[in-house]
Symmetry: C2
């Protein structure tokens, strides 16, 4: 049995007590952008329930062009007005450089990826970078309520980056 | 009080019973790629706990270049071996076309985005598209265990796309 099959078994259990459908637009009008890290349970850490906020996640929680695309759809079509950015301590993105990662892939496959890995030396600096990218985007209409945080994987607590 | 402040209050409560830190690599060696939709609680729907799987999410759950970047980091640096793709019923991405969305932004801002919105006409077709993009990527070393599903927002149940 693969892990995927185990997840499907858990899903069958979840569906037994599931009550839907809820409306498509997020009820709390928030979009969260967070790192993909396994230790960051966004619903748990923010006390969320189904139907409340959009959750966008990638390696690092960086504001990439794909995150801008997702936020544009979130704000323009589905009514979100606040953005919450979450990086975290002990992030994998602190353990390598973009050049090293792209070179390792080139050494392995013969092909250098056309994208940067988006590694960063500390999470606070990259939260500021992410806020700056949101603020600079011409495609997002709502940028007054954009706040960034670092999640501590030891304590489960969010610390705001000012 | 903003919604963000409410989420911070919920986080303080979460941290009270939080026990960490867990190891950085996902214990179950899986990366999930899912839509950002508020009704899709990935941890709940798959019975997950902190520390188990990477969760990557964007508008549509589409396999964009940024998702390939995240999966490459997930597999090459953090040991994941299975990929689970999750789209869902009643998706916002079914309600517009790429051309319409880009034109609406151009009409509003004067600037046409350089990216496609990645809208799609039905979730099953786009799950197949996403699997095909994963399989075609030269940057992902583990592509034998890639499965795609549609989450039903009415029942909470995952249906596999074959």
């Amino acid at each position: 049995m693969s892990v995927t099959d185990e997840l499907l078994a858990a899903n069958a259990e979840y569906a037994e007590t599931f009550s839907g459908p809820l409306p498509m637009p997020p009820a709390r009008h928030v979009a969260v952008v967070a790192c993909m890290d396994a230790r960051l349970n966004v619903y748990g850490a923010l006390g969320l329930h189904e139907g409340e906020v959009h959750v966008i996640r990638n390696a690092g929680g960086v504001v990439s062009e794909d995150v801008i695309r997702s936020l544009a759809i979130s704000q323009r079509l589905l009514g979100t007005r606040e953005i919450v950015l979450i990086h975290h301590t002990d992030c994998g993105m602190l353990t390598f450089t973009d050049d090293e990662f792209r070179q390792a892939i080139q050494d392995d496959t013969g092909i250098k990826p056309p994208w940067a890995a988006e590694a960063f030396p500390d999470p606070e600096t990259d939260v500021r970078q992410s806020i700056a990218r949101v603020k600079a985007s011409p495609f997002l209409p709502y940028k007054d309520a954009v706040r960034g945080f670092v999640f501590d994987v030891a304590t489960g607590r969010l610390a705001e980056v000012s």
